[in-house]
Assembly symmetry: C2
Homo-oligomer: 663 residues x 2
């Protein structure tokens, strides 16, 4: 006996309303509204195998409207993934359940991306589709030949990032990407007509997308639209007209179903309407079997693929890429040795470029790019060709003026696997990228952010372009390693560490201005320590100068002035706070001895917020930085204006030492 | 003799290329490309009076492509503004010059908004156009009847925020807004075709905009397009096809003119092409006179307006609104007295709502809104009607799922003057708003951000929705006051302070969960102090607990446990760091006595990043918070999981006290 699609979809609806009711928290409206569409996708089109969730050539499915998490949890359960179990579903949104409020890639296989912050799922899917085409171009159809599917809501399509993502996807002709838009005409505040009047399909057509509409509650009409999308070479937006909360007779079609449990009475009424007689978290055997059969569709395809991969000349390399391992023997040791052999005074953005020359030559995994600041971010190496719709094998993406879209696309690439994305903009515009950087960190995605022009040192562009609070605010983000290297060596070390960190993002804050090469020894990657004594005091040690990036040079000059006055001063370079904090206590005490200012005055120098530096200087130490907005001017004038010169700092340290003595 | 428009435009070109050359820094390409368009606008259409730059009914002009700052500096100088002088222009981009790298509203009258971070100028202009229609609806055509003009570049139109802004403008039918798009087909990286293929006009049409194209170097064609835009009731996008760097014979039409000085040779060649014989920073008298005459166009209109305003029944009230003064006698004292009389246990988001009921009733200036979280942010008061295209007098904006667009629009409203905008979203989505919050602060714009669901306390929505690093990262932003009130009283106090701060933004971080009312006295606005002793130790004081918002309740409970054990504990509520840091040293020492942990152990409790709290706890103090990502679960389970309960905290404090004694 065949089970009608509607009945399969009703299983999703029942699980969604029952789980939300059990949690008394969550969003039943979207899963109930999109159950028919998702059922068509998962039972007829999506290429996947729940028994091999990491199958490299599976289709990627992203629930961009992540608040409808019960939709994907129900689908994963029904199609036969190991988790979530029915008990997990019953435990929806409770501490410890893999069925978190919003879908989390680190909790469940089959959840390809962590979603909930609206619009980003769609933008990450663009990155996945880019990675797919890139790997296809490199490895061929036998190994890489899959699609990227998205369910997006009105919220996703109102967020600015969807403009950046869709514009990029249209430009790159990512025809294997299909977005199923839950066109339910409802947002949290009420009808979409409260806040928008746009013709979304026309807008997507303007981006070069194919668009098609369907009745989201008529499975055959959904299938017709999907077939049309599959046949079209452009990315497709499929407008699925649905009723939010479909099946809940008194609440459907209203925002009342969006973000709260329906209540016992309404659920009872919905069961009648849907002709669904099973108890909560119980499924009829025939429905269970039909869903399991749908989940089994992919197994033969996967077996065929595995056979092809095993026989493929590039199978091992492809497997390495997808595992995320770096190539055996990959290192920057030769590059570092070259730097030591021939010291250079370079901007760290330029130091990053020469590191990338070494990296990109030996690491085929990297895909670079910039949000229209290629020449300023120094992100493109000579041999890199552009990633274009004519040449997906290219390893450099001209992202355009789309910082947020770039960052989210990089997340998608990293999540897809097989590539290591890096991309650049100015550090001040990390604010534009910030929601995506947070998702890189939360999702444990290996993305390298190349953020140049990292302080007032960028000069004349002025306060709109001068980061002040950004370094510190990024250090606050869990699982993000923020590097601010001081020279060519630290820059290369930071790159090596960033590439090696497979479970999270790194951010390089790099200068516009030239910096001397201060490191003379590369026997150890000292940046890995987070901080280290760059130069020990010569005279009796009274001062400990801690600096990062471009201010290390100033710290050294300050130490010179102090030493000339008989005051011994250590200089500590601290390129990465999070790494230093992770060092053993003994190492941290060695670098920052546990002494009060009367014995050893700690001083920080960094051209940014001083707030936070109390952690290392102690409150009674001194902090030199920039706590207000910057200004427009020549770099030398600015450093003088903000008191960030050895000539300005040394006397203040001396005065404090005198005060401490007089106490 | 009439001066040809081209000659007037060439004055702009000459000043732009000469100033950039003098600075050896800047962007000549855009001013040279858009000089003809801007000349048509400023000599024929823009309503303004350089002798009265703050004339309330002037047209607003926003240079969204702010890197082309020399365009507006030249125009302001040529039309007769007091500043910039020719010396200022010659000092372009130097420290102390009002001609900063990017246009800054706080440096020059006539610069309506600080621009440079792309897309935001256009989005702020939407807010200006909203404020204009709102004030028009309230005060009538006699007082308010002006337009909003924007020059935007390809970058502005690629940034995601332009989608949010244009969608909102189309929905609200802001027909008095006209965007002149510098359609030069060039970005920094090269041809726009490197990164985009979209049909921008079709996209704007999809938003409900009127679109028209013109030859940006043919003044009459530009005028034709502008006339068409003026005649159309919809907002207009005028695509001005231009050549970037127009006039520089060897570099025009390429990205080489975008962001660097042209060089002496090319400038010489450009002078020949443009038939411009004057020396740098010298203008022919007839050109000067013609520009001055253009600048004088508005004076009679302004005089007529002033006469109307003087005679208008609402003239004084309108003037008050535009000055930004609060109404005489406005205060929240009665509301505070009511709260004291009848204490309530409320979520601070709800406390904010009841404060807003009092505010909105007495303060006609406020225009509220939410990015589609009205019922969650509690931003709408009962009497507020929606601001719609049918009723611009409404005082509540349904911004849709456009957090960034909302924030930028609020900046535009505040810059326009006459309204005090506030708007809500979840605190975690402050990341989406962050670039605009920074511009609120830099521009000294009175915007009140209502950010609810301010910690793991939001519960089941999980880590994507739980702010962790956000509070601290926002505190880092210069000129932003971040409030995290602990009860109904502090919430009302924070509102009073936010409204009174005319020269910058405030941000209220508010809870989802209920909090007890802990304050019993409102004789002083203690929130104005930033921090204060909420409860003094009873037993001998050994501990000082510092907490904010929802953790004040936990601090009080912790103090109870300690006191029961004979350990005296002060409890300090610290709703606003920046305000506390601005207090006199004596006050700060009174609240946080200058004692080492052996005498007084300082402890912070805040459900967010602990990094930064060393400032107040000292490094040897204790910090309780959340340094990793949150989790999905019920609030009680989460607070227990993260160790943020009195039962978990008190024993740790006691253990530390024992260690300190044993030392």
């Amino acid at each position: 006996m065949t089970i009608a699609p509607k009945q399969l979809a009703n299983a999703v609806r029942a699980l969604a309303m029952d789980a939300v009711q059990a949690a008394n928290s969550g969003h039943p409206g979207m899963p109930m509204g999109m159950a028919d569409v998702a059922t068509v996708l998962f039972t007829r089109y999506l290429k996947f195998d729940p028994k091999a969730p990491k199958w490299a050539d599976r289709d990627r499915f992203v629930l961009s409207a992540g608040h409808g998490s019960m939709l994907i949890y129900a689908l994963l359960h029904l199609t036969g993934y190991n988790r979530p179990t029915m008990a997990d579903l019953a435990n929806f949104r409770q501490l410890g359940s893999p069925c978190a409020g919003h879908p989390e890639n680190f909790e469940l296989e089959g959840v390809e991306a962590t979603t909930g912050p609206l619009g980003q799922g769609l933008a990450m899917a663009v990155g996945m589709a880019m990675a797919e085409r890139h790997l296809n171009a490199q490895f061929g159809d036998d190994l890489v030949d899959h699609r990227t599917w998205v369910i997006a809501g009105d919220g996703c399509l109102m967020e600015g990032i969807n403009h950046e993502a869709a514009g990029l996807a249209g430009h790159l002709k990512l025809g294997r990407m299909n977005v199923l838009w839950d066109d339910n005409q409802i947002t949290i505040d009420g009808a979409t007509s409260l806040s928008t009047s746009e013709d979304i399909a026309a807008r997507y057509a303007a981006y070069g997308w194919h668009t098609v509409a369907c009745d989201g509650h008529d499975p055959e009409d959904v299938a017709r639209a999907i077939e049309e999308a599959l046949a079209d070479p452009r990315p497709s937006l499929i407008a699925c007209r649905t009723i939010i909360g479909y099946g809940a007779p008194n609440k459907q079609g209203t925002s009342a179903t969006h973000g709260a449990a329906l209540g016992a009475d309404e659920i009872k009424a919905a069961r009648q309407v849907l002709e669904w007689t099973s108890e909560p978290f119980v499924l009829p055997d025939d429905v269970t079997a039909a869903w399991a059969a749908a989940g089994d569709r992919g197994a033969p395809l996967r077996a065929e693929w595995e056979a092809r991969a095993a026989a493929h000349a590039d199978g091992a390399e492809f497997a390495r890429r997808m595992r995320g391992d770096l190539p055996e023997g990959f290192s920057l040791d030769k590059h570092l040795a070259d730097l030591i052999a021939k010291p250079q005074k370079l901007a760290t953005r330029k130091a990053s470029e020469i590191a990338l020359e070494a990296i990109n030559a030996d690491l085929p995994d990297t895909v670079g790019g910039s949000a229209d600041l290629t020449g300023s971010n120094n992100t493109k190496t000579k041999a890199q060709k552009a990633f274009t719709s004519d040449d997906y094998a290219g390893r450099y993406v001209y992202y355009g003026i789309r910082e947020f879209g770039m960052s989210a696309a990089m997340n998608g690439m990293a999540l897809h696997g097989g590539v290591i994305p890096y991309g650049g903009t100015f550090l001040v515009f990390s604010d534009y990228c910030r929601p995506a950087i947070r998702l890189s960190a939360l999702q444990q995605a290996r993305v390298v952010y190349v953020m140049t022009h990292d302080s007032i040192g960028l000069g004349e562009d002025g306060p709109t372009h001068q980061p002040v609070e950004h370094l510190m605010s990024l250090r606050l983000m869990p699982n993000l390693d923020v590097y601010r290297p001081c020279d060519t060596i630290e820059t290369a070390e930071a790159w090596a560490l960033s590439l090696a960190k497979a479970d999270g993002p790194s951010l390089l804050a790099l200068t516009r201005q030239n910096l001397p090469q201060v490191r003379t020894d590369v026997s150890e990657n000292l940046t890995a320590r987070g901080a280290y004594r760059l130069r020990a005091a010569t005279a009796e040690r009274r001062v400990l100068l801690i600096a990062t990036g471009s201010e290390v040079e100033i710290a050294l000059a300050t130490a010179d002035l102090l030493e000339a006055d008989g005051i011994g001063a250590d200089v500590v370079s601290m390129p990465c706070w999070s790494r230093f904090d992770a060092q053993p206590q003994a190492y941290r005490d060695e670098v920052l001895p546990d002494l009060q200012p009367e014995q050893l005055l700690r001083v920080s120098i960094e051209a940014g917020s001083t707030m936070g530096w109390e952690r290392y200087t102690m409150t009674r130490g001194l902090r030199f930085g920039v706590d207000g907005f910057g200004a427009s001017g020549a770099i030398e004038a600015l450093y003088e204006h903000f008191g960030l010169t050895a000539q300005a700092i040394a006397p203040k340290i001396q005065a404090t030492l005198r005060e401490l003595q007089e106490k």
